[in-house]
Symmetry: C3
Subunit: 461 residues, 3 copies
């Protein structure tokens, strides 16, 4: 290792002007982009290609040779060809022996092949040191130099010295290498660029469904009903009034759905008397996207706050208030302050503000850089204690908002209750069950089960 | 090292299907959880236990052997037993020679023992390579797979090769290893999971105290006084009006307390004529929690903004405005626009908006991922220049808010001044002293002192 | 390497009480601060100095010897002297052979010398292992212990073992080492502490210019014009009304300027028929500060939101509304609800809320810790798709805001159109051009070009 290392070091002297030659197999778009960038960073580049005719597309400072000749010129070879064409490398096995092969390939589908491209390459050329790298950057980004997004290059490989050499090249190109360990990580690294927010799919689809349902529900109650019975055109409610009903409903429901799986899991564990049996699949998946559910809920809560705060600027609201005042003035009477109304109005606003404030706090602690700086004890304190406090405050906010009319029969239209009442169902269930689970007669066995105790040991797998 | 490494590599071939056997000493909850997870990730697991009877709790794919037999089967041994029982390992010293021992233990109290558990283990089995890891993840989190919180596993150890092997296992389990250097870091790593926001204790206790004080102060002035003298029931002020007095007061006072220790430190250094003597302990501690103080202040400022923005929706405010307008209409007079009032109202709102905006900016730059991306010069620019600008704007906001009534005797009730006037004390002191310190006659020697100059060199320790 | 390593390890036994001696050349401020800190962390420190008289400034637990004597006592030597004085080290070349030299120097200007100080040092003492470190922390911060800012210490060097030793010291001092690879990175590390938000300069200067222009534009239209023609004093508009005109204008214009360079680049590429020629320099620079432009735009948008939300609390607004209502009451007429007005008012508010919401989402994804957790596909989805949606919503918000008076001649004062109309110019250009570029007849060749196709291959460099 030491000898090897000193040899390599000898090739890269301390002056920044001379760098070790890099060989690139393949003259496709990504191979050319990488070559351009490397030449810019001072690396001599040699292309290995089937046709050694100098193509005008290839950076003019780069040499183009046959694969065998090119490979002999460098100790690092970047394999910028597609996996289907890897086969021909077996014929070069002797020349590639001891060289560092950098696999930069990506697939078109997740888990397209049983083993990762890099591991397949390592099997084809057993004597070479295979390193997976560069597959997470795009050719376009490399070329344009506008690396707004992640500059991270995931690197993995079994040979530490080879990995180090590749990571130094990554750094020289102005990117940030991230060591992902041995070549076992290659599959994951190859899947990474193909993902499009996989954890967000369920929460977003769920909220689309709920938004659609509550939109039509509110449309019927708040626009169609008054049009049919009172012949009033409140169609402009679609812009603000109805969204401002849907948003809090979704925020509260989704927030409750964050805590529902935990409560279900506790019931299942209590019933089974063990924690060593797997939860049903749907529960597992649900638990894994709780963070995303919570953030979508926070997004709806934020929209609700914005929609609420602009209420006094709305032309409709100004008209309504001014016509009320004018009619009061004309009828020559001044209403005294209704203390109960003042209390109800101020309480539900205060509860909403505190709930939203804690909700934002929860959101901030789920930022990766913040949650990486807290330990488990702190994380559990914030997400569980503060989380439930948020749920309680938001549920109370919704209940007090109903105020005197809560559950009164006059608020039914076409037998449909007010929309906000529907939003209370899930949170109330969660809070009641959680409250029951806190009782010592249930909390004590649950704690024991979570520490590994089993009621019927034969149950364990 | 090289030989060692190649031997180890030989055991972990490049195909992802075969992984090296891991031995776990101890069949407690965490040992079982870790074993389950490792088997899921493809590692053959051998348990070393006093009683080799296969317990139903142990994952069924794992073998259970005596400690000596189990240790011989693997080159990595995870010590999942408590520190009190480490003693028996000395009898296995010969078998453990050259093996990697992973210490995963945690203590119940901070700094429970003079040396860390991992260092104690290294002393007991001098021939083994001890690595500290896994103590920051919980058994529950490992088992449920819902690693919402930090996936970071702190790793430290004196042998780089051994550390690398452990870090590869960490990565294979889907966690993120973080190299903390040599075994010297073990104490810190063992203390980490026991902390519960240690830096936040002082700021939060302080603000609880201040909130309590100002709550009763405002209760007396704004609720009890009008009840006694005017027989008016303003008890609903408790929900919004009083919190909206307390929040800005705390925000401003805490923000000033962020900058007070820096000013005090400058005075102490000027007085002593040297920077080489330690500050008093309380000042050191105060300086270390300035960031937390500032964030608590920002929280109160945000609440103040929310409480203020919902003012026009409050039922009480609507009633007050409409009764004013009705009485105007009935008395048949229209007031002309008072230009001074318009100026004062708009100025204090504008100052508040700009102050809050800068305050949020300060908060964003204190996010770990942001502050890690700025250098010292930039950080000092933001925290010092922008910080003082924020303090000036917020103080001015409070002063202009008082407007024409500022310091007028009619605003005293039971000899108590308005609460907002109390909040101006600390910020004004800080700003005045800071202003004095900027004068060249004080700034020049201070700069010299901070660059290492001393007035009376004999003072140095 | 192995032998070397075991020797070094032998010097630092596993007990945390004994640590290897560190030698510091130079007794200047930073040398002393580092020495203090190291002694606190348990390292024996030896100073190498020209005058070996014990100065009172030097920590009293440290020995002061001649350079040669001091160097012999330790295997790590920290060079705390200025680059100009490095020359004398050549005379010590023999003693320094094989030692680890830590270069901690900083320059006064960016790229002051052709090669970095650390590379210069490595040339002067070829037998030593040079490591660059510690230049990013300040002496003041080290001494005061209040490391609020980045605790990151960038480390680079050609010898891995030497780098590891330095990184362990960094960790022992409570700082976070960050491996930047080989000594080639030293130049970048030395430039780092000298920067002051280099990427923000252009966006901030640009917005200052635009703010100044629009301030005077609005001053003329909204304050001077009514004063001249109607003799009304609206000078207090300077505090809120005019800022609340400027902020949305700048937010929209800057947001459009984020997307303009991408559109220009596409036109240039289509025209040239290749992606292999460099863009003009101004376009390159513009593209590199798009993120900063977007964040400045978001700052103006946030201010606009705050300024808008406090409208109903403004004394002027309350006076205007109440005098309108009073005059209505006195003239004994109630206006019916104007449905068009209600629609327009609600629509522009709803568009603004959704636009701002997406804008904040864009801002959050540009936080380093968030953007590091998304891949290119996700990043492009957010920044491109969501970004254009934000631009469309904000442009529509501004257009609907104009409502019925949009482009009506009565809104001209002194031939000046309303300021908000000027803000629509750039966004409309961007959206129209982008819309044209989406047509398949232009989108197809553009995609081909971006994948490496060339219309006239001879054009390539």
């Amino acid at each position: 290792m030491n000898k090897n290392s000193s040899n390599i070091m000898a090739l890269s002297p301390t002056t920044s002007n001379k760098r070790e030659t890099v060989c690139i197999f393949g003259t496709g778009d990504f191979g050319r982009a990488l070559g351009h960038k490397m030449i810019q960073s001072g690396y001599p580049v040699v292309y290995g290609s089937r046709s050694t005719q100098a193509s005008s597309l290839i950076p003019k400072d780069a040499e183009v040779l046959s694969h065998a000749e090119a490979a002999q010129k460098a100790s690092i070879i970047i394999i910028a060809i597609q996996r289907q064409h890897y086969n021909f490398l077996t014929s070069l096995a002797e020349i590639l022996h001891g060289k560092v092969l950098v696999d930069i390939s990506n697939n078109v589908k997740l888990n397209q092949y049983p083993e990762s491209n890099a591991e397949y390459l390592a099997q084809l050329v057993p004597g070479a040191k295979v390193v997976k790298a560069f597959n997470t950057v795009s050719a376009w980004a490399l070329q344009s130099g506008t690396l707004d997004a992640s500059r991270q290059v995931f690197v993995c490989g079994d040979d530490m010295e080879a990995k180090q050499m590749v990571m130094d090249i990554v750094r020289a190109l102005g990117l940030t290498p991230l060591d992902h360990g041995s070549l076992l990580a290659a599959q994951e690294i190859e899947n990474y660029p193909l993902q499009l927010f996989p954890m967000w799919k369920f929460p977003i689809l769920l909220s689309f469904g709920l938004v659609a349902f509550f939109f039509f529900y509110c449309l019927i109650r708040d626009v169609i009903y008054p049009y049919v019975y009172e012949n009033k055109d409140f169609s402009f409610f679609i812009a603000i009034s109805i969204p401002n009903r849907i948003c809090p409903i979704l925020a509260l429901t989704l927030l409750a759905l964050v805590y529902l799986p935990g409560v279900l899991a506790a019931i299942i564990q209590l019933y089974r008397g063990t924690k060593y049996r797997r939860f049903p699949d749907w529960l597992d998946k649900w638990m894994l996207c709780r963070k995303q559910l919570g953030l979508v809920a926070l997004a709806f809560a934020s929209l609700h706050v914005l929609y609420t705060l602009i209420i006094p600027i709305r032309s409709f609201v100004r008209w309504r208030i001014s016509s009320q005042i004018v009619s009061q003035a004309l009828s020559n009477k001044t209403e005294p302050l209704n203390n109960t109304d003042a209390w109800l109005s101020d309480s539900y606003l205060a509860l909403g503000i505190l709930g939203f404030f804690l909700f934002v706090l929860l959101g901030i602690t789920s930022l990766p850089s913040v949650s990486n700086n807290v330990n488990w004890r702190e994380f559990r304190f914030v997400q569980s204690k503060l989380g439930y406090l948020t749920l309680i405050l938001c549920t109370a906010h919704t209940m007090v908002y109903g105020g005197k009319w809560f559950l009164s029969p006059s608020s039914y239209r076409w037998y449909l209750p007010s929309a906000y009442m529907l939003s209370l169902i899930v949170p109330c269930i969660v809070l009641v069950v959680k409250f029951v689970l806190i009782f010592p007669c249930l909390d004590k066995p649950l704690t024991q089960i979570r520490q590994g105790w089993e009621r019927n040991p034969q149950y364990s797998e």
